[in-house]
């Protein structure tokens, strides 16, 4: 399925004007000095794809702790038709934060946010790339091309070859690999997909997995781009694929007549291991996270469910409050952490689904999952809030807001936490620990506070009752009773002068 009609690619590297001889020298010295630190960071942070790894656990054992301060911003204006397409969830490759934009893949410095490189990309959905070591080099894989949509989309950002076969053919979609060091193509040719892919790329070992809108799941050799197998998942797959223990799991979205379902394939052969239709009224589902032989996913019927990785049997289902489905569940140190679309964060028991605690941020969370760094759960909201909740007891310890600027897709990057922002300053934003900041300890509004409950009730009820009763009694006296006992006489017409007083 390799294709030769892939557009030419332009690689741009950040300009460094006015260099003097001493700058490289100083730079080299700085790099040497920072190397141990960078190595230490690489050792503790592994965030090479959506929610960290192929199992999408969404957690790291250590990293920056709250309170946070803004460390840097890398503005990347939204683009594409209607100027509504921003960056994908970022990944971390060494010291470079990589994100896919609608028309380019960008790499920015994790330390200061400066643009390191940019590679043109065929216009397509901004979905997460993935990085892996292959044949001694690091390669970055991403998908490009919108397939048949959106209709107003220009297929390429720059002049590109006409599709090889037939002018009526839909604009193609591809899986592309570049060398992380040189940004040159890593494969002889990109892999052509049957339809647009919105899953992003998942890499497990030496195999990359993507799926397209039509439901075809592809397994590709990371080093060569050779297609190992492709199978039909049985419906549209738009959430990232997950892989662990030799199994690839796809969430197949439902529609008006079908419910969401899971499909599991043997990662090596593509054989269908099992298919599980989700009970209840779930139509859409999140990508799954996999840990300890269990699968976890959120669904549009306000549930988080767990399934057996071996046979797909449902282990438990727990309700959440948010109307829309939750982000990818995070697995961290024996805890299952999910955030629903209404911004309520839950810690569940991975074994039983029982709720340990919850915290209602009461801010929408869209296209974003929580992440766990050490003892804290970090959540980004549509209103631009970054919130840190203690994983042990569910108390909010830090929160920062920037109204009007969407924040999503948090990613740990060394001693920074990087997120994607929207609004007028769209792009990437990084937070670092603020030694001068203050932590708080706020209980969730879902925890009953009897004193506050009673006081607020009385503050409202007592004045209202007095006002209503006094006013009502006065008016009732003016109006008189609703009915008179019938005395057999004809009713008195209004205006006769005899109807003024109370009867």
């Amino acid at each position: 399925m390799a294709s030769s009609d892939h557009p030419g690619r332009r690689v741009r590297r950040a300009k460094r004007a006015g260099r003097a001889w001493w700058i490289p020298t100083l730079g080299a010295a700085a790099i040497l000095a920072a190397a141990p630190l960078a190595l230490a960071q690489t050792a503790t942070v592994d965030w090479s794809q959506t929610q960290g790894g192929a199992a999408h656990l969404g957690s790291v054992t250590s990293g920056p702790e709250p309170p946070f301060r803004e460390a840097w911003r890398a503005e990347q204006p939204v683009s594409g038709p209607g100027h509504q397409y921003g960056l994908s969830a970022p990944i971390v490759v060494g010291d470079v934060v990589v994100a896919v934009g609608p028309r380019a893949v960008v790499g920015v410095s994790g330390q200061d946010g400066s643009l390191v490189w940019s590679v043109d990309r065929r216009f397509g959905p901004s979905v997460a790339p993935a990085a892996a070591l292959a044949d001694g080099r690091t390669v970055i894989l991403y998908t490009e091309g919108f397939g048949t949509g959106p209709p107003e989309a220009s297929p390429t950002p720059s002049p590109s070859p006409t599709p090889a076969s037939g002018s009526d053919e839909a604009p193609p979609s591809f899986l592309v690999a570049i060398d992380a060091e040189t940004q040159e193509p890593a494969w002889d040719a990109p892999l052509r997909l049957e339809s647009v892919s919105r899953t992003g790329v998942t890499i497990d070992g030496d195999t990359a997995f993507v799926a397209d809108r039509l439901g075809t799941v592809y397994a590709v050799d990371v080093a060569t781009g050779e297609l190992r197998w492709s199978e039909d998942a049985g419906g549209p797959v738009t959430a990232p694929l997950s892989a662990a223990d030799g199994t690839v799991v796809a969430t197949v979205q439902g529609d008006r007549t079908t419910r969401a379902r899971l499909a599991a394939f043997d990662a090596a052969t593509g054989d269908l291991d099992w298919r599980q239709e989700v009970s209840g009224a779930a139509v859409y589902g999140s990508a799954v996270s996999i840990d300890g032989g269990a699968i976890f996913a959120g669904f549009s019927d306000q549930t988080v469910r767990s399934f057996d990785l071996g046979d797909g049997g449902e282990r438990w289902a727990t309700r959440v409050n948010g109307l829309a489905f939750v982000g990818i569940p995070v697995v961290s140190d024996g805890a299952l952490l999910v955030v629903d679309a209404a911004g309520q964060v839950y810690r569940l028991d991975p074994g039983t689904g029982e709720r340990v605690w919850d915290f209602a941020l009461n801010e929408l969370v869209v296209r974003s999952s929580a992440i766990a760094i050490g003892d804290h759960v970090l959540v980004a909201t549509v209103n631009g809030d970054l919130a840190a909740i203690r994983a042990d007891d569910g108390r909010l310890v830090w929160r920062r807001g920037e109204p009007g600027a969407v924040l999503r897709n948090l990613t740990p990057a060394g001693d920074r936490v990087v997120g994607v922002t929207g609004g007028p300053r769209a792009g990437l934003i990084a937070f670092a620990n603020d030694p001068d900041g203050r932590l708080v300890s706020i209980v969730s509004p879902t925890e009953p506070d009897p004193a506050s409950l009673v006081v607020n009730y009385l503050l409202a009820a007592v004045p209202l009752a007095l006002l209503l009763i006094l006013g009502g009694r006065w008016l009732l006296g003016r109006m008189g009773p609703a009915f008179l006992e019938d005395d057999g006489t004809e009713p008195l017409p209004v205006g006769s002068g005899s109807e003024g007083g109370d009867p």
Binding site: G280, D449, A460, I469, L484, D486
Partner: protein, 315 residues
């Protein structure tokens, strides 16, 4: 409380019309005969909408039992629901004392929120039963208040007698909701909303008088339901408008964004409490308004056809 003839005082700008001469309805036969016939004369003593609403509001606000009782009931209800695991939003409580089927919709939402989709069926049944009890007792109190100007313990037995009818209207409310939610998606988003709102208006329009009839006239359950429909269909009295006047603003309040208490949480602010208390008191006031309207025209509502009466007697 009997269906004795009542006369309303002429305050509030209301002009008492002369009663229309009683006519023997022409017997009709056929399917749904008792539901569709007979219709009475257009010359009705039904109070105007404005008069009805004013009377309902003043009756409820002017009698401390309603204000204090409603406020206390809402607090207790909230505490119970929080204990059951409900986490909000508190703003949904604006429909806590809404009349069926509007209130039934609240029951369904609450039940599925607390017990999930599977356990929700049991939850809905429990909440519908509770609503039936509350509406029956409130109706009895409202009828007594309209009749005597006060509320006493004597309304309690009347309320208990009206319980089957009140429960029936709640169950019918569930049927209305189910049917409208079944047909709404088939007709697309625009018509779907119309069907759903229309179903709620129709439910209030046809059955809102039934508990009042049960309290005031001690009729059988089927007779209360059919008589409620006949009362609703009195021509030229604006009952449909009154039902729409109640349902549409109530829905607007439910879906309005940014209202106090519209977030997840179990400790509502004072503003959220004030909002919810006032709106629920308005629901009770509307119940009083509907009761006032029925009691004003009770004598005008035609009896069921002889065949229906005979069938009712057999029951």
């Amino acid at each position: 409380m009997t269906n004795r003839k009542k006369k309303r005082p002429p305050s509030g700008g209301y002009r008492e019309p002369r009663p229309a001469p009683a006519k023997d309805p022409a017997p009709r036969r056929g399917f749904l005969d008792q539901f569709l016939t007979p219709r009475a004369t257009a010359d009705s003593a039904m109070p105007k909408l404005r008069t009805s609403v004013a009377r309902g509001c003043v009756t409820v606000a002017g009698i401390p039992t309603f204000v204090i009782g409603t406020f206390a009931l809402l607090f207790v209800l909230w505490v119970i629901l929080v204990a059951l695991g409900y986490q909000g939003p508190f703003a949904t409580f604006v429909s806590a004392l809404a009349l069926p089927p509007l209130g039934t919709s609240f029951d369904a939402t609450l039940a599925t929120s607390i017990f999930g989709l599977q356990g929700g069926i049991v939850g809905i049944t429990a909440f519908v039963l509770f609503r039936g009890v509350v509406i029956a007792l409130l109706t009895a109190a409202v009828v007594e208040a309209l009749d005597t100007g006060r509320v006493t313990r004597a309304s309690l037995p009347s309320g208990l007698r009206a319980l089957p009818v009140s429960l029936a209207t709640s169950v019918i409310g569930v049927a209305f909701l189910t049917l409208s939610s079944f047909f709404a998606p088939l007709l697309g988003p625009g018509f779907g909303i119309l069907i759903q709102v229309g179903g709620l208006v129709l439910g209030v329009y046809l059955f809102v008088f039934a508990p009042v009839i049960a309290v005031a006239e001690r009729r059988t359950l089927p007779d209360c339901l059919t008589r409620s429909m006949r009362a609703a269909r009195l021509p030229g009295v604006g009952n449909l408008g009154m039902a729409a006047l109640y349902v549409i603003p109530a829905i607007a309040i439910i879906v309005a964004p940014g209202k106090p208490g519209n977030v997840i949480g179990v400790n509502p602010t004072a503003a959220a409490w004030a909002f919810v208390l006032v709106v629920n008191l308005l629901h009770v006031a509307m119940l009083a308004a509907f009761a006032f309207r029925y009691l004003a025209v009770a004598d005008e509502v035609p009896e069921a056809s002889p065949r229906a009466r005979a069938a009712d007697r057999r029951r």
